[in-house]
Symmetry: C2
Subunit: 358 residues, 2 copies
């Protein structure tokens, strides 16, 4: 028995009701998907040779998830650009998906404007802000997110909108028939396995959060769970207010594994969470096994989370949602409001005051 | 006075003489550059629309450094691919630079073979191994690294060879006139500032290593120092045998800054090392300042390392070298052999035994 079984306690800590946005994630995905299919795109947007997602934080993570998914289903490759400006070698056959929930993200805005100047094909995904205004003025396709919440909770929009766009442009095999099944699956996960009403005794997310209390969580994943691992890391930073990192498998085998020895205090605090997709090649499966053996032999605490779902996309979304819930429960256990982001607010207000013009 | 001023102690701990390879880095860069300019490439290699570096560990880091440099000098954009296989959408105008010091890196080999099948333009960079054999058989350009040492010490080759190739293909402005000046600068850094003979009282690398003893180092960098930060992280893993991570600025402002609060034990152990390039835009300079203010306000220990050197490339190489030396000195201070990588050796031998065929 801990705070996770007390609705009144949860309501007090989660005073801004992140729990409702978590629960709404499947519906948001569905809404975003339908919206993405409806909007008409200029005909020449079909001639695309390169796709770049511009975004920071949660918007960029959506690009990672998209990239992992498309790589696995032999779709087009997607670059995610998290910085000011744009990558090099762009041309009129480059599709730039500029994604900023607020529409005011300084880094993304700079690349968005540059992309318009360079005559790339640009699509804006935003709830409004400066990017919303400028997209209207430039008469480029604008996907207006109709949503109120923290940027990281708009993941359904920032992921499913571009995916629907690619589906519409026939750049991937039509996945429309799978979407409803996927969101039903996510809803049943919430209702029966990881949601607030499911007691700790049978709730994997609550159990994992309890295990991670006071720990230093580091997420490892390979193949189509790389972006998921990064999402877990950032959700643990923002929701739970804890230090957290992630590593990609197999890259982790080439350097990070040598660091398990010192300082001993870090080793004692670290819990490695291995996020393991269902559909791995034998080689990648062996990479995961070797990772386990190494962690055991160095006496580093670890857990394995196996992917669930019938399709690659379902698995990516379900495992993302599990991380969102787990980081939420960890915040509750620690008695911290999962919504507030005072350090990020400090950055934004300082930026407002001192933002240099160039 | 500590072990760093005792040559006999250093020689005992560093029994495999990494110190000589560190000292040789400028000469290696020069040798690799000259070699890269000499080798003749097929004429059609000039028609390149996309460049992908395949590599893991140190070879991949070289790709990151290259990518940072080229981005900053408006050169072509480079993707670094650290996994099995290849990214999507490749064609005959894609240049694949497959880089594996041993020539036997399983992940890189898989992509290398696939690239040959897909008729990409392929270049192999290796000391031999399977990739060396197969490159000869396929009659593709092969840059044979004539070097004995740990893969991470072959950075001069894995960075300067592809750079020379791009220079040869006129994909960047000719930097040949700068190279000698740069390697002279690196040599003088070693002789006068960070090398073994320079006493701790005036040796920045020795001082920083002393500061980082028993600490949990995390490297932050933006712009053309991102790859450098990643190099520091991996060198601290491999040489010093410590847990270490890195974050990119400004992405760090969107999530990681929220994690400074818990667990308190991590906060007390962490030292953030801000690697700051000389040539920053006012916006990026402000991002660095805000990062400092945040770290101060959360009472997180931090240091700033300012870039040195007259050109972007000189600064990247000099700051990389500073990290290499600092991680070496930290190993010595901790009494661990900087060369041995038992966990990586375990992975390789396990792999030999159990490597699945697909």
């Amino acid at each position: 028995m801990n705070g996770l079984s007390d609705p009144a306690y949860i309501a007090r800590i989660d005073s801004q009701k992140l729990r409702l946005r978590l629960q709404d994630f499947p519906a948001q995905c569905e809404k975003a998907w339908k919206m993405g299919l409806r909007i008409s795109l200029p005909v020449d947007y079909r001639n695309v040779e390169r796709i770049v997602v511009l975004g920071m934080g949660g918007s960029a993570i959506a690009g990672d998830l998209l990239s992992d998914f498309l790589h696995r289903v032999d779709g087009p490759s997607i670059e995610v650009f998290r910085d000011y400006g744009l990558p090099g070698n762009l041309n009129e056959n480059t599709l730039i998906i500029a994604s900023s929930y607020s529409g005011n993200t300084d880094e993304t805005l700079s690349g968005f404007r540059e992309a318009l100047r360079q005559s790339c094909k640009v699509i804006a995904i935003t709830s409004g802000g400066i990017m919303g205004e400028e997209a209207k003025r430039a008469q480029i396709p604008l996907f207006q997110i109709d949503y109120t919440g923290e940027p990281r909770s708009a993941l359904g929009f920032s992921l499913m909108l571009p995916l629907a766009i690619l589906n519409q442009l026939h750049l991937i095999e039509d996945i429309n028939p799978d979407i409803l099944k996927t969101t039903h699956f996510l809803n049943s996960l919430i209702q029966k396995e990881i949601g607030l009403k499911v007691p700790s005794s049978s709730n994997h997310a609550k159990q994992l959060a309890t295990d991670l209390q006071g720990r230093f969580p580091i997420f490892y994943a390979g193949d189509y769970f790389r972006g998921v691992a990064r999402r877990w890391k950032t959700q643990f930073n923002e929701n739970s207010k804890v230090w957290s990192y992630w590593e990609a498998i197999p890259e982790v085998h080439h350097n990070a594994v040598m660091g398990y020895q010192m300082p001993d205090a870090i080793k004692k605090l670290a819990t490695i969470v291995l996020l393991r997709p269902r559909f791995l090649t034998p080689k990648m499966r062996l990479r995961y096994s070797i990772t386990e053996e190494l962690l055991s032999s160095y006496a580093v605490d670890y857990r394995i989370i196996d992917g669930r779902g019938e399709t690659i996309l379902a698995e990516i979304l379900a495992t993302t949602l599990l991380g969102d819930y787990t980081s939420f429960y960890l915040a509750i256990l620690q008695g911290v409001n999962p919504v507030t982001t005072d350090a990020i607010d400090f950055i934004k207000s300082t930026w407002q005051e001192r933002n240099p013009s160039s």
